[in-house]
């Protein structure tokens, strides 16, 4: 206990010394906590959010992608590791640690049984997501229901959980974790542990941090998930000599309804109608081919595209022909009987607005319209073109949705080895610091996204971290 004397005396120690301290409260954190507890460790979970907002971005998830050799009552067919790996390589364009990636996907084969054993229930793929029925297991009731099940299981096992308990400092000596300082409603305290699992997400809700790479533009970003992913733990770890992974300047960004809340708008703010219309910025200029490819292959580029526009705002404009062809969203479309009226409602220059639409309409070469194929409806003689699904915007009422960049997650994280131990600068693994989930996802997912893979990474690495932490505490 000699080292305890070195601490500032005003921070009281928590009387219990836990085997494993888990920082974070989402999927990865709970998988780690449950695994460590089942392995006999005493476990403390420190969740910065309150009970309602517990679980960070897991609250907003809806499914888990896992490899499996055979279909079952929910998963409609086999999804072998090789195919999963191909999918991952395609979306990351090779921005991945292939060894860790393949290891993750192999480990994902155990997740179906593990999740069922932890009380998580699954359901048939949701309406509009049939394409994922084979590869992704959907949580019955969504991510919050899944979290509730994990919390019930963890509490039943005797994991101690503290809400509104934010870790503000970590005591690390030569890569060896000793204690954390926690700011909680009941006051600040220091918790000692034999091993630390950091599962506290990325930094996408830290606007100041985003500004380091995006400048003032980041002020206009909306954060699709939790306001608690401020990256404070990631920052602490990197500052204390843990090796980073992933491009700090990159984040997953889609175009979401500009009227959405700053944080936690979740799934309902998404808009799937870009392929049905045109997109213009607040100078009434189109700036990208809206019909370049199928929407699922292109939705993730539009956040960045809108981020590059003046004031980080754009408008999806379409007409009555397309209304009802895409998933409904949280706010109604802005509606007008004429293009001039619509421009007025959007507070855009009426002349420029109608000119852009008129020019687009004149360039349209209509044919058989079909969003299931790369159809022949395209434009000629305008730049940028609209390569497919181009139809004249000529049937009242006219509609528009304002959109802004909606940030899903960031890619910067801590480098880990196969045991989920973080690596110090130079490559030596820490003896007792583990990482799981979004904070280390960049090891596997360096770029792009694959539906449900955030949960795959969280669950696989959460379990590895919990297992490793418990093993360390026992020895």
């Amino acid at each position: 206990m000699a080292e305890a004397n070195g601490h500032a005396p005003e921070i009281p120690d928590l009387p219990t010394r836990y085997d494993v301290i888990v920082v974070g409260g989402g999927n990865a954190a709970l998988c780690a906590a449950i695994t460590a507890r089942r392995d006999g460790a005493s476990v403390l979970v420190l969740e910065a959010a309150d009970k309602f907002y517990r679980g960070g971005n897991t609250r907003h998830t809806r499914n888990l992608r896992c490899a499996h050799d055979e279909g079952n009552e929910i998963l409609t067919g086999p999804y072998p590791v090789d195919e999963f790996m191909d999918d991952l390589m395609r979306v990351t364009k090779g921005q991945t640690d292939e060894d860790l990636a393949r290891f993750t996907l192999e480990e994902s084969k155990g997740l179906w049984d593990w999740m069922n054993g932890a009380g998580v229930r699954f359901q048939q793929p949701l309406g509009g997501t049939l394409g994922l029925g084979r590869t992704n297991a959907f949580f019955l009731g969504g991510g919050r229901a899944m979290l509730n099940a994990l919390y019930r299981t963890a509490e039943g096992l005797g994991v101690d959980i503290r809400y509104e308990a934010a870790v503000t400092d970590i005591d690390i000596e030569d890569g060896f974790f000793k204690s954390v300082v926690v700011e909680a409603a009941e006051g600040t305290f220091r918790a000692h542990g034999r091993a630390l699992v950091t599962a506290s997400g990325g930094f996408e809700s830290n606007i100041d941090w985003l500004k380091e790479y995006w400048g003032e533009r980041a002020e206009n970003f909306l954060i699709r998930g939790t306001s608690n992913n401020r990256g404070s733990i990631l920052r602490l770890l990197l500052d204390k000599g843990i090796e980073p992974v992933g491009d700090p300047t990159q984040c997953h960004a889609v175009a979401i309804d500009a009227r959405s809340p700053k944080f936690d708008g979740g799934i309902v703010t998404r808009l799937d109608c870009i392929v049905f219309g045109i997109v213009m910025n607040n100078r009434c200029e189109r700036f990208y081919d809206e019909g370049e490819d199928f929407w699922p292959k292109r939705y993730a580029i539009w956040g960045r595209l809108v981020a590059d526009q003046p004031d980080q705002i754009a408008y999806i404009v379409f007409d009555d022909k397309s209304m009802g062809s895409f998933m409904p969203s949280v706010y109604p479309a802005i509606e007008a009987e004429t293009l001039e009226e619509l421009a007025g409602k959007l507070e855009l220059d009426t002349e420029k607005f109608t000119a852009t639409v008129t020019e687009f309409n004149a360039a349209v070469r209509e044919g058989h319209f079909d969003t299931d194929i790369h159809d022949e409806c395209h434009t000629e003689g305008i730049d940028p073109p609209k390569s497919h699904w181009a139809r004249k915007i000529d049937t009242a009422p006219f509609y528009a949705y304002p959109v802004r960049p909606g940030i899903t997650f960031t890619y910067l994280g801590t480098r880990v080895n196969r045991e989920a131990k973080v690596l110090m600068q130079g490559g030596t693994p820490s003896a007792n610091i583990f990482a799981a989930g979004e904070i280390m996802a960049g090891n596997v997912l360096g770029q792009g996204y694959l539906a449900g893979i955030g949960m795959t990474i969280g669950a696989v690495w959460g379990r590895l971290a919990g297992e490793g932490a418990a093993r360390h505490a026992r020895n």
Partner: protein
């Protein structure tokens, strides 16, 4: 534009659900709402009556309060549901009785018991009330069988008529914009779903009541209540068959079929209603609609009183209390039947109708109502 604030709020919340769809596997409400993009009053009333109030979606929702979207589907649908009972009531003039239901049913009960007492005392031999238990003809010494048949028969038929008219209003309103094609297998499916309370199980995990643990027993209590009630009803029906078909008038020995059914039903009904009352008291305040409490409790208490007075009558039927108990029991039953179309009893009727519509919609999809077409044409003309 909706008729009430509750409907407007339900539309707002349901629209968000339709954009999310995570709850699709929990019950019938979510797949049903996904079949629409716009919700007329009738559509919302249909969804409200489809909801069994299991509470799962509230606990599973990432947008529940304190999130600014403030979704609380069980609560808002309970409000809409309650309003819909009044809206579909027949005759229309009686719609307001749903507003202060508990008080009204209490008054109806007191009046009904008093009428039987006064009738028995003033129309027959005044002393018979305390001595009838020794008379060979049993109850009928106090009130002739024919009088009972006339009173209860006519009240029962009126209740059936009023309920049927209510369902007719419900069906017309819910099919105003989109219609379903009726078929017998869907009705059978709906009866099975209603009879098993299929959607009162939180999608399989169990349903919620006092907290976020899915360990609620309301399904059990409701089954005891409903099937207990049916057994009591069967007991009376069996007595009627004995009387008219076989010429065996009451009273019957305890081991005969009508009393056996009645005793079993009475015990189940007592246990079930007691459980439901307890569950209601424990309900999480966030899910509680205070405006409903009077109506809910009044109906459950009426059922409990029916069961308890029936059982007492059975067990104390050979004591001087028989006359008094008979008057009270008949008074309770009369008030129960009279209030059936104007109290919580209607929830079962509209829910079954909603389940029918759901089964039909799942089987055949929705068609645009022909009445709605002129509207669309008007809108198109206005645009042109």
């Amino acid at each position: 534009m909706h008729a009430t604030d509750a409907l407007t709020e339900a539309d707002r919340q349901i629209t968000i659900c339709n954009a999310c769809r995570y709850c699709e596997g929990l019950c019938a409400v979510f797949p049903a709402l996904e079949m629409n993009r716009h919700f007329a009053d009738g559509d919302l009333n249909y969804l409200a009556n489809l909801c069994h109030n299991c509470g799962a979606c509230y606990h599973d929702c990432q947008f529940s309060p304190p999130h600014e979207f403030a979704l609380n589907i069980p609560k808002i649908l309970a409000e809409v549901r309650k309003d819909s009972y009044g809206q579909y009531a027949w005759p229309r003039a009686l719609a307001p009785v749903f507003a202060r239901n508990g008080l009204l049913i209490a008054c109806l009960l007191a009046l009904s018991v008093a009428l039987f007492l006064i009738g028995m005392i003033s129309l027959g031999d005044p002393g018979a009330l305390w001595t009838a238990h020794t008379a060979p003809e049993g109850f009928y010494a106090l009130m002739p069988h024919t009088a009972m048949v006339w009173i209860f028969g006519s009240v029962f038929l009126f209740a059936m008529l009023a309920l049927a008219m209510g369902v007719r209003h419900f069906w017309r309103d819910t099919n105003a914009v989109n219609v379903v094609d009726a078929d017998a297998p869907s009705v059978w499916q709906a009866l099975k779903d209603a009879g098993s309370l299929r959607y009162l199980d939180g999608g399989g995990v169990g349903c919620f009541n006092e907290d976020d643990e899915p360990d609620d027993n309301r399904r059990l209590w409701h089954h005891l209540t409903f099937y207990g009630f049916l057994l009591c009803f069967a007991a009376t029906s069996m007595g009627t068959v004995y009387h008219y078909a076989f010429g065996w008038p009451a009273p019957y020995a305890w081991w005969d079929l009508p009393p056996l059914l009645g005793i079993a039903g009475g015990l189940m009904l007592t246990a079930g209603t007691w459980g439901l009352l307890k569950a209601k008291r424990q309900r999480l305040s966030a899910l509680r609609d205070e405006r409903m409490t009077g109506m809910d409790v009044a109906f459950i208490l009426m059922l409990l009183l029916t069961a308890v007075t029936g059982l007492l009558l059975r067990f104390l039927g050979e004591t001087p209390l028989m006359g008094l108990l008979l008057a009270v029991h008949l008074g309770v039953v009369l008030a129960l039947f009279l209030s059936m179309p104007y109290g919580k009893f209607v929830h079962g009727i509209y829910r079954t109708a909603a389940l029918c519509r759901y089964a039909m919609a799942r089987r055949h999809g929705l068609r645009k109502a022909s009445k709605a077409e002129p509207k669309a044409t008007d809108a198109a003309a206005a645009r042109g």
